[in-house]
């Protein structure tokens, strides 16, 4: 838009918007991050940085775990992107049977807790190394090598199974945005199917692929449960197990230092990713999109179906079933005791689980469900709004470039700040009254604020991917017609990216209802959440009860996903003509 005289009128509101976004991000992300950095530098930090980087401890505290974290992060990022993009293409563009069911199932793994998938892995591949009940293969006499049971390989595969949903959601939204007419036009010029795929479809979804990769990478390196469960038995340590270990053995400052290392590493990956895709336009949405053009897969139809079906069966149905069955087992993770509905419906019976009644008889179950859903919705809306505005600013703000990069960075790193540190930072920020405003601490509002902060990466990355597809020419045309900034944003940008944004909101919602660590320091007895119920049961070893609540959470998440898909399908795509 270099030659347009109206550039200034476009820019001014953008600067105001940029300022607003920066202020919000500084409060929500930069301040907690600065709090971490300060803690590692103050007097009682006791030279933590030299311990981490230059001491006899460095090798096992930092370098080897860092190497493992990078292997895990890059492995999960790459595999999750390949699987997620493949399924997205199959579901959106191919003509295989059962597309809708596969589409729903592909979002399920993210709704399941990562430990459920790890448990499913163990139930098959667990070998004799740690005694107890062996997995399926070992119990039929097949010896499973340690490398397949424990350590890097299972950690990467389990996390991939958990996080490919991210790429699936983002890439399928992007594929839906490619007009069928574009593909048709290309085919009319005689382009081969391969050429259409590599020259049109792939470029069109590459912002989405990058976003999916970045999210899976960040989630992969920050996940603690899976490497702890599958890595420790062979002393496979990642930065996340090291940093949570440091915090939970009472050396919080060392844990904070390691999490800052993770933030910096993730920042470099983000920079590299953005650089790789810089200065290219991926705009494919140039107006009203026509319907999707389905690709005839011919002889490949059934093999593709088999691959897609196998993938979702292994990652959604099997872990889901393992989780569901585990709530019905009389004995924890063992078939010896037979089946029971006690953990769902039972009255208190002193012979079972120390007299703990079934979860549906827990008086707070209903309240917890309500407040969990409310929290998920509010956070999803809040994060989507900030994420969309942030991504819009980054796309349209030409100078100063540092502002765009700052927004991009701050919106990417919240995953990497441990929940406990986030919570502590929010207590510091909002614990005391600010001027005339009362203290937010102890209210529902602070949960929402913290939730928005922690789940911004989903909202920002999905919005960024969606905006990457929208052509600037549309806005320029609108400028010519005299439409003001807010009006353009509301009437042009928002409808065009709605699919991506809704997809991102679902991811935010799912994370919020599932993950306790984000809000654990901020919840009060007055706002019971399902995730706190899970914790309460799990901490006393009531595994079945805990898994039952986890299943409820998964069902809510899947229902939300299906609902959101209905919503976007009913919406008009493209500009109202």
């Amino acid at each position: 838009m270099k030659a347009l005289p109206r550039t200034k009128t476009v820019r001014r509101p953008i600067h105001a918007l940029a300022a607003a976004v920066i202020v919000v991000l500084v409060i929500l992300v930069a301040a907690p991050l600065a709090g971490l950095v300060t803690r590692t530098l103050d007097a009682d930090a006791d030279g933590v940085w030299s311990q981490v980087f230059a001491s006899p401890l460095s090798e096992n505290l930092l370098w080897r775990p860092l190497g493992n974290s990078l292997l895990v992060g890059l492995g999960v990022g790459a595999l999750a992107t390949v699987f997620g993009a493949f399924l997205a293409w199959v579901v959106v563009m191919s003509d295989i049977p059962g597309k809708r069911v596969i589409g729903v199932l592909a979002t399920v793994p993210f709704a399941l807790p990562s430990f459920a998938i790890a448990l499913a892995w163990e139930s098959v591949f667990r070998n004799e190394r740690i005694g107890g009940t062996p997995g399926l293969l070992s119990s039929v006499g097949i010896s499973v090598p340690d490398d397949l049971s424990w350590g890097l390989v299972p950690t990467v595969l389990v996390l991939t199974a958990h996080y490919y949903s991210l790429s699936f959601v983002i890439v399928s939204a992007a594929l839906l945005g490619i007009g069928g007419d574009l593909v048709a036009a290309a085919e009319l010029t005689g382009a081969s199917r391969l050429r259409v795929a590599t020259r049109i479809v792939l470029p069109a979804v590459s912002p989405a692929i990058l976003s999916g990769f970045l999210l899976a990478f960040a989630e992969g390196v920050s996940n603690f449960a899976v490497p702890a469960l599958l890595g420790l038995p062979v002393r496979f340590q990642t930065l996340s197990t090291r940093l949570y270990g440091a915090i939970s053995t009472g050396d919080a400052v060392r844990g904070y230092a390691l999490s800052i290392v993770l933030v910096v590493v993730a920042g470099m990956v983000l920079w590299a990713g953005n650089r790789a895709t810089k200065r290219r336009s991926y705009a494919t949405i140039t107006g009203k999109a026509s319907g999707i053009r389905t690709v005839r897969t011919g002889a490949w139809r059934w093999p593709l179906f088999a691959m897609a079906a196998l993938l979702v069966t292994l990652t959604a149905i099997v872990p889901g079933l393992v989780l569901a069955v585990s709530t019905l087992l009389r004995r924890t993770n063992s078939f010896d005791g037979g089946f029971t509905l006690h953990y769902w419906l039972g009255e208190s019976d002193s012979a079972i689980a120390q007299g703990m009644r079934g979860v549906l008889r827990d008086p707070i179950a209903l309240d917890a469900t309500k407040s969990t859903i409310l929290l998920g919705l509010l956070v999803a809306v809040g994060a989507a709004l900030i994420g969309l505005l942030g991504a819009y600013v980054v796309r349209h703000l030409i100078r100063p470039r540092i502002l765009g990069s700052t927004i991009g960075f701050l919106s990417y790193v919240p995953f990497l700040i441990p929940g406990v540190a986030f919570g502590a930072a929010f207590i510091a920020l909002f614990g005391a009254p600010i001027g005339p405003l009362p203290s937010l601490y102890g209210t529902f509002a602070i949960l929402v604020v913290a939730g928005v902060a922690a789940s911004l990466p989903f909202a920002f990355q999905t919005s960024k991917a969606a905006l990457g597809q929208v052509s600037n020419e549309l806005e320029e045309a609108a400028v010519l017609t005299g439409a003001g900034g807010p009006r353009r944003f509301a009437r042009i940008t928002t409808p065009l990216v709605s699919r991506g944004v809704v997809g991102g909101s679902v991811l935010v919602f799912v994370t919020m209802v599932r993950d306790l660590s984000l809000v654990v320091l901020l919840v009060t007895p007055a706002t019971p959440l399902l995730a706190t119920m899970t914790y309460r049961y799990a901490s006393e070893g009531f595994t079945q009860h805990a898994n039952a609540i986890t299943l409820v959470i998964a069902v809510i998440s899947v229902a939300a996903t299906i609902l959101a898909r209905r919503l976007t399908r009913a919406q008009p795509t493209g500009i109202p003509s």
Partner: protein
Amino acid sequence: MPVSAHPRASAACSVLALTFALAACSTSTEPEAPQIDWASMSQDELVTMARAEGSVSVYAFTSRIASIEESFEAAYPGIDVMATDISSTELITRLASEHRAGSATADVAYVSDAPVVVTELLADGVLESYVPKRVSESLPEEFQQPLVANRLSTKVLMYNEEANPDGPPVDNLWALTDPEWSGRVMMVDPNVRGDYLDLVTEMSLRADDMAQAYQDHFGREVELDDGVEDAGLQFITDLYDNDAILVDDTDTVNSSVGARGQANPPVGFTTYSDRRDNEDEGWALQVAADVAPSPGIVFPAMLGITAEAKNPAAARLLVDYMMGDNSETGGPGFEPFYVAGDYPTRDDVVAPTDALSLGDLGAWRIDPEASAERRAQVADYLLTIQ
């Protein structure tokens, strides 16, 4: 007990209270409320004040606090208990953060991880001690300091009694470093969970006992490798070298060691009271009590009052309640914690009979302050021998 019976004690307490008040004044610019002499207050006065406050908020590291909430509210109608259960780590972080922000929402903390409590909370004055006068005589001095403890829990060596019907497969911890136990000793990674770090720290603090046990087992004096400071750390070094299996939680140790139907089950360090789940879960967990020099550690669960408690009287009443009544089992206030394999701290409460007595168990009792001083070095050492 009438106040006048111990004029000297209460005078001493008043001086103490005054000292605290002065200390508090020196760090705070806000006008102080008149100091209350809790120690000389009668039970009735305390209850009256607590009723006037009407509520009390407690952070607890165990979900069993829910049954305390129920029974306390029944015992003292009109006082509402708000219980938050979070892990000890998060509890400690939360209290410290609230203290720094000046926005305490808890009145009472029920917390494990005693050494971390010493360094993170007591050093900064986040928590204060309150020893109910009623129990001070039946509570050994060591459980009144640095905070009052109501019970002890364990991390001890357990084995599978189905596979070993004649008793523990080892009689000395050093046997676990022999080749036949390679890859068959389990524990939670002490660099990941604090109570296991406390276990290893205690081995280092009891280095002389460990050295003697080495002598008993191998018939010669222990030789320390380069860079190994004591026999306790030498033990953990040899154990790691013998392919000890580290996992991330106690339940995994329980099910691996305890599962029935195993020909050659591992042994592992875990919680003695988890044995109560044997029948429920199909386990055969048993403690290796006679192992030399000691099967492991016992450590306290402690009760403290927050420095800025908004309901100071109700807070003290709740602590008083959780210390148990004068019956043999400690009554309803101790009921959720009256579990075989855990130990009441009061010497007039009789421990459940389904478990070994504390004396017969022979576990080391950790000293939170000594442990706090040593454990960071032990954690660093463990990092070097992965």
